[in-house]
Amino acid sequence: MPVSKIDREKRAKCLAGTGVTKVFGVGNARNVAVDHVDFDFREGEIISIVGESGSGKTTLSKMILGLISVTEGEIEYQGKPRDIKSHAKKKEYWKGIQAIFQDPFSSYNMFNKIDSVLLDCINMRGGRSLPKAEKEAMMTEACSFVNLKYAELTNKYPFELSGGQMQRLMIARIFLLKPKILLADEPTSMIDACSRATILDMLLKLRDEINMTIIFITHDIGLAYYVSDMVYIMEQGKFVEVGTADEVILNPKADYTKRLISDVPKIHEEWDLSTV
């Protein structure tokens, strides 16, 4: 069920940003990729950030993950200013935030078996000294969460799986790690439409069962509408429209949002090709 607006205010703050800016280059090459954006993500919400290529979605997500520095502005994590100055603190922060990326084929170490991918997650969460049987039970549970059979996956290498299966295994990883926030950067753009439905349903399941906050980054406004509670529309480094999914997609106010919606093929309405 989508989160209602009143319900939203009651939820704990998970991640918030004020005036977050990223500038690449200096002088003539100065490029403001993300320009003073404010956001407020609450616990247990699915937030979509929608925009076309080059709008700054990925730069923002990298700043949220702490992979690149923030030029200006503050990011608050769980109500306190985020501190990731030292490597140890960064590692601590990453226990709370994890990511799934666009390309499942390049997300794996191809020399390692699938078991080791999942085993690493258990070890990272302090399960190193658990008995083997218990570790296997955890891996089986994680695989069944994403509708994969653990018994069929043991001793296999990542390249033996299809794109959809690999992406599902990525979600199994997240299930084992149980971070507070999951950042999904176009997780469905490289897999076919049929597996896409499965992945989206799994994201919803993660939210419902573990109360995870999910930041979903996409260029397809249809997908954003299906999964999210809140939608942030991003154009050239700025948020042009923010609101609940129903508000933004059914009654768009910004011209840019209207354009994004018109760019997606629909089945009950005529698709107007003359607008590009």
Binding site: D192, A193, S195, D201, Y226, L250, P265, K266, I267, L273
Partner: protein
């Protein structure tokens, strides 16, 4: 009925792996496309859509091998030609093909105009550089691409622009059939729309006379093509007009695919998406009975045992299922 541009009868092709195993990726496909019509091919990854596209060109090289069947392009049988003959006489001027990652095929050290010169020279066109340039500029302008692109290198263009440039180059000889294999999958929605618009223009202005469009995005096919054909495990499972296929699908597989459509329209959020469980069968050893039986909710023991033939449902509509049209409709209505 218009003139038939592409006529394929019972085409069978296979891949031979380096361990000498055969993978039957296209198994008995028959299709016809009339002049001015477009056909969409849908299906999951690994169902043989891209292999069918490669096979339709008649240009076979290892590991893809031709087994049987015929391909006729505007009255000319191309299935018994040697690869060299096909390259010389068919590719480019009869059939043009745009592969999935077409935009990565542009050599970064050459200007765009050089690729067009290459295409024209390969087909013995007696034009000098100036004439080629004029021809290219005219074609680019009609298709809404700036003529300045011709003097640029591929790295200077954006993804969507590169893709449109590749399409313009591959159709420069006005082929009879254009086979586009996921031309817009790697692009964002705005560039995708531009690519689609350009392909429509190619059809309307008569630069191509028929089109095969392969994608797994069903809302896109619905908006672009006249007919849709759904492939599963190397075979056609259903074929019909775009509207019938989306709103009134017969085969359980097509019905399952339609359950994964996501569009930004009110009501989308209330409908739970239905994904088809499981994965397509291994085509090294295709199942003896109905190939979809393993994943079909309505399968019985009978389905797994007998091979299913295509059935005709009238008005160009065909499907491959044990159940009759009425039975299928009844099953769907019950849910």
């Amino acid at each position: 009925m218009g003139k038939i541009m592409l006529d394929v009868k019972d085409l069978k092709t296979k891949y031979v792996t380096r361990f000498h195993e055969s993978v039957y990726a296209v198994d008995g496909v028959s299709l016809q496309i009339e002049e001015g019509k477009s056909l969409g091919i849908a299906g999951e990854s690994g169902c043989g859509k891209s292999t069918l596209a490669l096979s339709l060109m008649g240009y076979y090289f290892a590991p893809l091998h031709y087994m049987s069947g015929s391909i006729t392009v505007d009255g000319m049988n191309i299935s018994d030609m040697t690869p060299d003959q096909v390259r010389k006489n068919v590719l480019g001027n009869e059939i043009a093909y745009i592969p999935q990652a077409a935009m990565n095929a542009l050599n970064p050290t050459q200007k765009i105009i050089r690729f067009i010169e290459d295409v024209l020279h390969a087909h013995d066109t007696k034009l000098n550089k100036k004439e080629i340039y004029d021809l290219a500029r005219e074609r680019f302008e009609i298709l809404g691409l700036p003529a300045s692109v011709l003097d640029r290198h591929a790295v200077e263009l954006s993804g969507g622009m590169k893709q449109r440039t590749v399409i313009a180059i591959s159709t420069i000889l006005s082929p009879k059939v254009l086979i586009a294999d996921e031309p817009s999958s790697a692009l964002d929605v705005t560039s995708q729309k531009m690519v689609i618009k350009m392909m429509r223009e190619l059809m309307e202005k008569g630069f191509i006379r028929s089109m095969i469009f392969i994608t797994h995005e069903l809302p896109l096919l619905y908006n672009v093509t006249d007919d849709i054909m759904v492939m599963y495990a190397g075979q056609i499972v259903e074929k019909g007009s775009a509207k019938e296929m989306v709103f009134d699908s017969l085969h359980p597989y097509t019905n399952g695919l339609m359950g994964s459509i996501i569009v930004p329209e009110s009501g989308t959020r209330d409908v739970k998406l239905t994904a088809i469980p499981g994965t397509p069968p291994n085509l090294k050893r295709p199942p003896a009975g109905c190939r979809f039986a393993e994943r079909c909710r309505y399968a019985t023991a009978e389905c797994k045992g007998m091979a299913i033939e295509m059935k005709d449902a009238g008005a160009g509509r065909t499907y491959r299922c044990r159940m009759s049209e009425a039975e299928l409709r009844e099953v769907y209505a019950r849910e």
